[in-house]
């Protein structure tokens, strides 16, 4: 059974067709790539899968269960998490709090526990605190735990965002342009990093990228989106040679 399956998904923003007849199956353990020029509809696909919009047509299945029309927090609970193209951290909070809040759905002590500071709450929060710090240590950001995130360097903020996404215990992690604003050296590092978290956390990863080199080195299967439609898909070598892909990218970014 595929981890994620999308059937004939189409989405309209008023009169704008952002995604058209999108199909895919993602198997557990994959690192999948979604590429395409700016405005092709990649982020919209992620927004549809995570429930920010309900597709105009089509169905989405996660672990064999239909999730079309669920709200994002419900989908998040089922095991899909993501990062955002432009960082969306909770800017007034510390890095640690950013990670801890992502444990929200795993909290069992309830409102009574929260209001009356019951033993159950203290124990659970202690456990979450411990787990969150461990997670941050694994990503090498534990020394920033008590810093307010808006004051941290951009690269660290990206990692905090990933730590936060991992805290929800996802099976599928969506990364929206994880290398935005990075140089070549950092890119190499990020590739290794993504492979590492895939193995460490038993993840399936679906990522959007702009930079071809990055996707080519990382993904086993790539889909190319242009004007909301898949114009090509296949393993990296094939995509690289595909004339349609080259045409779509021409002028957009010459530095393939």
């Amino acid at each position: 059974m595929a981890l994620l399956e999308i059937r004939n998904m189409t989405h309209w923003f008023g009169g704008l067709r952002a995604v058209y007849n999108f199909n895919t199956r993602i198997e557990p353990g994959e690192i999948r790539g979604l590429i395409g020029p700016n405005g092709a509809g990649k982020t919209t696909v992620f927004n549809l899968v995570t429930g920010f919009y309900t597709p105009t047509e089509g169905q989405i299945f996660f672990l064999g269960r239909e999730i079309t029309g669920l709200r994002p927090h419900q989908i998040g609970r089922l095991g899909i998490s993501r990062t955002f193209q432009n960082l969306r951290l909770w800017t007034h909070l510390t890095a640690l709090d950013n990670v801890k809040i992502a444990y929200y759905s795993q909290i069992r002590y309830g409102l009574i526990g929260a209001f009356f500071n019951t033993r159950a709450r203290r124990e659970e929060e202690e456990r979450i605190d411990h787990e969150a710090r461990q997670l941050m240590r694994m990503l090498d950001i534990d020394q920033y735990a008590h810093r307010v995130v808006s004051g941290l360097p951009y690269g660290i903020q990206r990692k905090v965002e990933i730590a936060r996404a991992l805290a929800t215990k996802p099976k599928l992690l969506l990364l929206d342009e994880p290398t935005a604003g990075m140089g070549p050296a950092e890119m190499e590092e990020t590739m290794a990093f993504i492979r590492r978290i895939r193995d460490q956390f038993n993840l399936t990863i679906w990522l959007i990228e702009h930079k071809m080199k990055f996707v080519m080195g990382l993904c086993g299967w790539i889909q190319v989106l242009n004007f909301g439609e898949i114009i090509a898909e296949g393993p990296p070598e094939e995509i690289q040679r595909n004339p349609e892909v080259i045409r779509a990218y021409l002028g957009e970014m010459v530095e393939l």
Binding site: S81, H92, I101, S105, I107, A114, F115, N117
Partner: protein
């Protein structure tokens, strides 16, 4: 400037001598001072030609008749400063020892107890002080609960007066129907001596009903934020006021009275502490911090599994519940309410306390009302001028500190900070202990 220069050595002396005296010792000192004032205050005030005990440290007396400044100074030094300093100095070792021996909750409880004693003795001297302190407790509840929505959640709600009104009327109706012989509600349904025991029930009922009506503003908050939500909360205030005015059995615009005298200082104090404790617990829990996540980035919160609708409902309903409770206390402290006690001016007043103290801060929600009421009360003899001076001070405060005095930070209490640090070090090294 010159004043500051003159004070520097004094401050230095004070710091070296008293810098390490624990908070608890100060509270004990103040309690002793307040107790002494209760015993000797009236006589001393008479001797000094002050007539009666100066209500709030003589500040309004000074403003009204400056010639009494020396007498007031002598009174304050003899009655408050010396006993507090002496007792605090003498008892410091005891508290340092307790700090070692007692667990945090017990030690905190001890502080609350001493604070209660201070305020209790102080309020016994003068019915006016008693009134002011009870209103202060109520205002703290209102400000803190409003802070949940305006600070932690980042909305701009003005409905606090409306919530108060619902709570005030519901609790009043319940208490008058149950325990008072009244023209409209007839003879009491229950024996009158039960009234103080039923009052907590009345307050909880008031809070619960208020929370239900708050759905009127909480549900629209799913779809809209910011200014439009502010308008909806504004409409809520008008709707409540207008509804009450149209309900004849609770007096309509004439108001409602006859509330039994059940809101003593002790009762108000207990409810205030309870409210602070509950709301403090909430905002320090992860569930509560999710409110901050909704404020800072709602869509990220949703994605990170936070049920943002639930978070919003809980914030609004908690705000409404405690404002309703505060309204119930208010009605029984004053013994008379009418619809215009709860108009937008009331909301503006609470908003003033909130933004003066600072958003997203429990201590700010205590500091704000204390400072605000301190000002209004020393200016009370000047009646109208009070409402000229307070806006000026608030505007000045907002310009100087747009985030309020304690916005986004908490007061640091030394011994709690020390404990916190120890715990933090243990955690950072991955040692899980309690």
């Amino acid at each position: 400037m010159a004043l500051r220069k003159a004070l520097t050595p004094l401050l230095h002396w004070f710091r070296t001598r008293f810098g390490h005296v624990p908070v608890g010792a100060w509270l004990l000192g103040a309690a002793v001072a307040a107790f002494l004032e209760r015993l000797l205050g009236p006589d001393l005030a008479y001797l000094l030609g002050l007539g009666s005990v100066p209500a709030i440290f003589g500040l309004s007396i000074i403003l009204k008749t400056p010639s009494l400044i020396p007498s007031v100074l002598v009174f304050v030094v003899l009655m408050y400063v010396i006993p507090t300093l002496v007792v605090a100095w003498l008892s410091r070792a005891l508290f340092l020892w307790w700090e070692e021996q007692l667990s945090v909750p017990v030690y905190v409880f001890l502080h609350v107890l001493f604070l209660f004693l201070v305020l209790y003795f102080w309020s016994q001297v003068d019915p006016y002080r008693l009134l002011v302190l009870r209103l202060l407790g109520i205002n703290i509840l209102l400000t803190l609960s409003l802070n949940l929505v305006n600070g932690w959640m980042g909305e701009f709600s003005v409905s606090v007066a409306g919530f108060m009104s619902v709570g005030a009327y519901v609790s009043s109706v319940f208490m008058v129907w149950g325990f008072v012989h009244d023209d409209v509600f007839g003879p009491p349904v229950f024996p009158e001596f039960l009234a103080p025991f039923a009052f907590p029930l009345a307050l909880i009922l008031a809070g619960a009903v208020t929370a239900v009506t708050a759905l009127l503003v909480a549900v629209p908050s799913f779809r809209t934020r910011g200014d439009y939500l502010a308008i909806i909360t504004l409409a809520y205030v008008f709707i409540v006021k207008s509804t009450v005015e149209n309900l004849d059995f609770i007096g309509g615009p004439r108001g409602f009275m006859n509330q039994p005298e059940v809101a003593s200082f002790t009762v108000v104090f207990i409810w205030t502490v309870l409210g602070i404790w509950v709301m403090w617990n909430y905002v320090t829990s992860i569930l509560g911090k999710a409110t901050n996540a909704v404020r800072d980035n709602e869509s990220a919160a949703e994605m990170m599994t936070v049920d943002t609708r639930k978070v919003k409902i809980v914030a609004f309903l908690t705000h409404a519940f405690w404002s309703g409770v505060a309204g119930g206390l208010y009605a029984h402290v004053l013994g008379y309410i009418n619809p215009s006690s709860f108009d937008l001016r009331k909301s503006a007043e609470i908003l003033g306390m909130l933004y003066l103290g600072g958003l997203n801060s429990v201590s700010g929600s205590i500091v704000g009302p204390v400072l605000f009421m301190f000002l209004t009360e020393i200016l009370r003899p000047f009646q109208l001028a009070k409402w000229l001076v307070i806006p000026v001070i608030l505007i000045y405060a907002m310009i100087r500190r747009p985030r309020g005095l304690m916005g986004f930070q908490e007061l640091r209490i030394p011994f709690l900070t020390r404990r916190q640090q120890a715990k933090e070090e243990a955690r950072a090294y991955g040692v899980t202990g309690n």
